[in-house]
Symmetry: C2
Subunit: 421 residues, 2 copies
């Protein structure tokens, strides 16, 4: 297809609509059940780390502690050392916890609601607290804020991060206490924050208890030969005179296994001590057996990098399929734009305004589950009803190809409906 839909006559559009309706009906008749909703590793990706399921773990860590027993709140040095190197932080500034950086992000926020964060006048509960939420962004970040009654202020993402003039303006409001950032291969649009954006983020004026949840979920998740190192953000914050600004999160969820990985928090000594003080009331220590299992399996930073290249070999062709199918079906139509991320887990597909929910609905009828429209925005409110997140990692290549073809049909169908209405 090479004519833009906006240039089509009424009859041409009607013909297109009929054609797509009939394709959609065929899809419905096939009874597909395809799911491209979440950034889940595929079974083949999980199989890369099959060794984890049968490894022999010694009883003691290198420092002699019995990994089977209580204690060791900061996590095992051997796993912290590997991720300190990968994330560009000092080993003293990183702690290793259980499965799921989401849990750490939640707990940091929950602790700040209940207890005075360093720099805060009082716990945040019951006060009007605002967070800066670059959009499109990660729905689970936004859910934590929504759940805790924290107001979110959307800021549009550009090519190298959010509109920083706007961010700086907002951060000068003392009731703005936090910001969500996915600095590399952002969920969902793949943006990589550049050094200038990062420098402005750590330097800008903000409340003393303002923190950035710097979610480095995809720091090592490259899809091309370029393997840029994560920004040395803790050091940058230190140099800018705001050492406590950054709460960096990471995990092995999309490196080894999604469900039984190890999560990390890297930050200033002040922030780590504060977190440990509160988490000590909650737990007598993380799962050190799993931490040691991971350290022995991954071996060192280079071991992780090598594993990530194997993930890339499985993932990159899927991103290629998304692009190929969308280009074949939607190229030149003028009704869709999509990202070409150099890493991460998602493609953002923008359709014509007011049709994203219709596309998701049509896809559902055709047996293709898409992330609900609006999910990339606070309170699920995409004011343009434009953005759809595609997660190509989980399905097989064949399923993905079928799903993307179906999605393209739905995009065309919804656009024709819209333009004819």
């Amino acid at each position: 297809m090479t004519i833009e839909l906006s240039q089509m006559s009424h009859d041409e559009l009607s013909a297109l609509l009929d054609e797509q309706r009939s394709l959609h009906a065929e899809l419905e008749a096939r009874g597909l059940t395809l799911d491209i909703t979440r950034g889940k590793p595929s079974p083949r990706q999980l199989d890369l780390s099959r060794e984890l399921l049968s490894m022999r773990v010694p009883r003691h860590a290198a420092d002699g502690q019995d990994v089977r027993n209580y204690g060791g709140a900061k996590g095992l040095p051997e796993i912290r050392r590997i991720f300190a190197e990968l994330l560009g932080v000092d080993v003293d500034h990183i702690l290793a916890a259980d499965n799921s950086s989401l849990a750490i992000m939640h707990d940091l926020l929950s602790f700040a609601m209940l207890h005075r964060l360093p720099g805060a006048e009082a716990p945040w509960f019951g006060r009007r607290i605002k967070f800066i939420a670059p959009v499109p962004g990660y729905d689970r970040h936004f859910s934590i804020c929504e759940h805790l009654g924290i107001e979110m202020i959307p800021v549009e993402m550009g090519e190298h991060g959010p509109d920083m003039d706007e961010v700086e303006r907002l951060a000068s409001d003392p009731s703005v206490k936090g910001m969500w950032v996915v600095p590399m291969y952002a969920n969902p649009n793949g943006v990589v924050y550049d050094e200038e954006t990062a420098r402005r983020l750590v330097s800008m004026d903000a409340a003393p208890d303002f923190r950035i949840w710097w979610d480095n979920a995809y720091a090592l998740h490259h899809l091309t030969d370029a393997e840029p190192a994560p920004l040395p953000i803790l050091q940058m914050a230190q140099e800018a005179g705001n050492p406590d600004r950054i709460l960096m999160l990471a995990s092995t969820s999309k490196i080894t296994h999604a469900g039984d990985g190890v999560a990390f928090l890297a930050s200033s000594t002040g922030n780590l001590d504060w977190y440990l003080k509160h988490s000590a009331v909650r737990s007598i220590g993380p799962d050190k057996v799993n931490q040691l299992r991971h350290a022995l399996y991954l071996k060192d930073a280079e071991g992780v990098r090598a594993l990530m290249r194997k993930h890339r070999a499985l993932l990159a062709p899927k991103f290629q399929i998304v692009d190929t199918v969308l280009r074949r079906r939607l190229g030149g139509t003028g009704i869709a734009r999509w990202t070409h991320p150099a890493g991460g887990y998602f493609v953002t597909l923008d359709v014509i305004d007011g049709t994203a929910s219709r596309v998701v609905q049509l896809a559902k009828e055709a047996g293709i589950a898409l992330t609900p429209a609006g999910s990339s925005h606070p309170l699920h409110d995409d004011p343009h009803d434009r953005t759809i997140r595609l997660a190509p990692s989980f399905p097989s290549e064949g399923e993905l190809s079928a799903a993307m073809d179906g999605v393209a049909t739905c995009v065309l169908l919804a656009a024709a409906e819209k333009l004819l209405s």
Copy 2:
């Protein structure tokens, strides 16, 4: 020694004091480093489950879900089934989480501070909230309350539970919202709640958002041939018309490994749904690989019971040592009483009023770490300065014997000092 110290003349007491001082000096000279502070399993106990460190875990649970991936918030049916049977609850009423029931207890309380618990008028944060705290009790329970600014009202423990007239009186106060209970082999005094006490607890009038944190940490941790089943407390609460009253906790921490076990929450559907609603914002699912590893290792309820008998074989002789040494050194002196628990992890040693902290201090000087005096009371305030918790599980039998002998010396020394002052 067979004379009671209270019957001794001044000279006899002085002689005793000198004698114990010299024994204490000898202890100091030996440079011991013995630790009987915490209920930690010994390395030999952890070795019972050595299989866990090298087991091959399949990729899929019995219901087909990939245990390596995200999801499965309620935990794997196979591990829930085993503990449902052991704890006497319906499998639909139990969920399996990560390592540490302490974390679940904390989160339940933290969620209730931030979000409306069913029956509550509002979140608890910022309101005057009180908990009933049977004493002596578990310091980590009390720490959660202290940390969250919840007032604790101590109630003395009797032979079969706390003074229930007092508990009922307190529970009728609408600002009393919770209670800590360790129903079997209570930490630290080994009390087993009887059926009558339990019935009164589930039947008494209380605020609609009153809950009992029913910490069944030692339900399977018998030290004698008697292996009483846990009370069917969820059913009792249901029958009493208060189905939401009980939040039952348990874990494998003192069954398999202390640091990498599986924890459980058993409760009404209403409470479980409420917990899952809030924990879903925190986590995309527990470590199902470890849950499956545990289910395969433990096999079934009888597998757990058999393992617990092996623990007993290692633990019971240690409790015997505590009793033997204390009896030999302190029997007939009238200055100490201690418990003879039929299960659990602790012996409570009561010394003469006003000397518990002195005993802990003297022991510390002699290289023997004891749980700080007062730890068994809210805010570490034992009004009588009388109660010391002994945790005999971790040291070897030889170390334990030496430690108990040292403790006895400190008890005698502190008593002689006190009586001479």
